[in-house]
Symmetry: C2
Subunit: 358 residues, 2 copies
């Protein structure tokens, strides 16, 4: 299986590490030999149609900060000079070319999430699908903004679009809902889908103010320098959109979610809830009427959903099996890379059956 | 899909209700028309090769306490008189005959769990497999005592053996571990697998003594008149055996589990643990060295595994995705029936692909 990997940050590099360390085992268990034939980062590209040397690729990235410095028997598309790097149009053009021209079965899209216009992920995914490539993405932006049409485009082109790592990091929340409850029906669900806000709320529970908790989250690397996507509920809303489309068969995007972040949650609110055995959590929910909401809610301390720290949790209400909860780490480079591998195996299995399903 | 159902207690009757209420939907979603062609209870049998009328079957059971009173266009194997019912050998013989002679693709085994010799479930399952029938069982006995050889027998005969409902009731714990973590590896797991003991320990946490908590569990229907299978850890050990074989690929039976029940847990132990933010739970575990144990252990109150009441929970430690926890109701007639339906759909899907896999 030949793979074009676009985006070589923490998740991309962990994918390379995972493919490197597990190559033999993956072949034995799944009959699959995944090869990265092209890897693109923000500064350039490394290409080898027989498969990049992953050890060297990781080394080059570590030493030079870009895969563009990768040399492999001369099969190297050239270092880009600084001027060229500044020329974003040219850079854009090159990624398009690579997706179109390099022979590969799958595009793995791992560029950073952008919830404004979904780029560059949206163009990358669209191009790949149009050129008959299956797509595995960990980028929430394109899905949050255009999931119904992307799924349709993939179906029309007979390829698969998979995105396990977009919700719950390595925790197989989407798989659980889709594959584990055959014959049953999910009526509604609610979840803690954002680790950063859950960490902040957990620390406020211990007596810190919002600002202190945020500062603590930043110092531990749980919050971005600009944490608004988390704090204001955008990240949770994006994940909710993905779950609603995939699990409930809805056709929705970000604009269909009513959402509110945690900025207005005061320490007093939290301590008052605590007195009644409750805690305030940022809950993303799809109710029985299929209304989509992200908002701070007080829930019972003893509910399985009530997890602390950076954990994610989702409770599904099923028609026959009652409430079912899945809990796990919601982020992490290796965790998310393992979700990509899961998707690649699924793509491989569908290919070997001669069917591409969405 | 023609089904022989042996055992028509709470779970069996809920399966009939489920097939009745969901018939159209199951056909639309899975292309499957499940028909009960024979249903056996402890007092007799109802047979119709075109499919029993489920409404009538449930009504007859309710009115007469046995399916033997079912009449359906004369296709009825006769009421058994009281003498005949006493003749257990004859009754035994008849079940064997039915499994052998009635045309069906699947046996659903729902007789009560017997952890001494696994009967009558063990004979029913063995007979069905030998006669080329797929088997779906919710009976833990045969698996706890002979799972490795039963799986081998099924493989040798080219049929499927499925048992989703034996662990976690309707909660798809086995499916989660088997299907949701492709590409990853489960290194160990630990779980609360018995709702009765978890309820008793939860009540002791609230200040009741063991005897008071047990009496309360009995009054609420959470504990059997003879609760030893739960209290002494047999039930949890049986489920642990099933998980070890299925998830970890081990070849083990009850004799490979070291287990200890909750009888010696005192209120003092629990209150002392409580002072340190801990709770005592009956934990079934498979560690990294693949040692299987069931024993009361104190765990942190904030662990996702720490569920109260009759809930079940399992935490899997995976190589790449960290700790993943699944929580749900561990029992219940309809919940367990929904697990049977899940297995039937899987059998159907394998049949339609022309492959029977274990």
């Amino acid at each position: 299986m030949r793979i074009i990997l676009v985006g070589f940050g923490v998740v991309g590099q962990n994918l390379a590490k995972l493919l490197l360390s597990r190559a033999d085992d993956i072949y034995v268990r799944y009959g699959m030999k995944p090869r990265l034939v092209a890897t693109v980062d923000s500064k350039g590209v490394a290409i080898n149609q027989s498969g990049l040397d992953l050890q060297r690729l990781l080394e080059v990235k570590r030493l030079y900060g870009t895969v563009a410095a990768y040399h492999d028997d001369g099969k190297y598309l050239g270092e880009q000079d600084t001027d060229a790097l500044e020329d974003s149009k040219r850079s854009r053009y090159r990624v398009d070319d690579i997706i179109r021209e390099i022979d590969a079965e799958v595009l793995v899209e791992a560029t950073p999430t952008n919830l404004n216009d979904g780029e560059p992920g949206l163009s990358n995914i669209t191009n790949a699908i149009k050129h008959g490539r299956n797509v595995v993405t960990v980028n929430k932006g394109p899905l949050a903004l255009a999931m119904p049409s992307l799924l349709e485009l993939a179906e029309y082109n007979g390829v698969m679009l998979r995105f396990s790592g977009t919700v719950g990091g390595g925790t197989p929340i989407l798989e659980f809902a889709k594959h584990c409850l055959k014959g049953d029906r999910i009526l509604s669900f609610k979840g803690i889908l954002n680790g950063t806000t859950n960490y902040i709320l957990s620390m406020m529970e211990c007596g810190l103010t919002f600002d202190e908790a945020l500062a603590d989250a930043k110092s531990k690397g749980y919050a971005e320098a600009d944490p608004r996507l988390d704090i204001d509920g955008f990240d949770a809303a994006a994940k909710l959109v993905i779950m609603a489309n995939w699990i409930m068969g809805m056709k929705v995007t970000m604009k269909d979610v009513i959402f509110k972040g945690i900025k207005d949650v005061s320490l007093e609110d939290i301590l008052e809830a605590k007195e009644h055995g409750k805690v305030i959590k940022l809950i993303a929910s799809c109710d029985e009427s299929r209304r989509l909401r992200v908002e701070p809610m007080s829930i019972d301390k003893n509910e399985p959903l009530c997890v602390n720290g950076t954990l994610n949790a989702v409770t599904f209400t099923s028609e026959h099996s009652g409430e079912l909860t899945v809990i796990g780490k919601g982020a992490g480079g290796m965790e998310t890379a393992s979700a990509i591998l899961r998707d690649l195996i699924e793509v491989r299995e569908a290919m070997s059956k001669g069917l591409n399903r969405n």
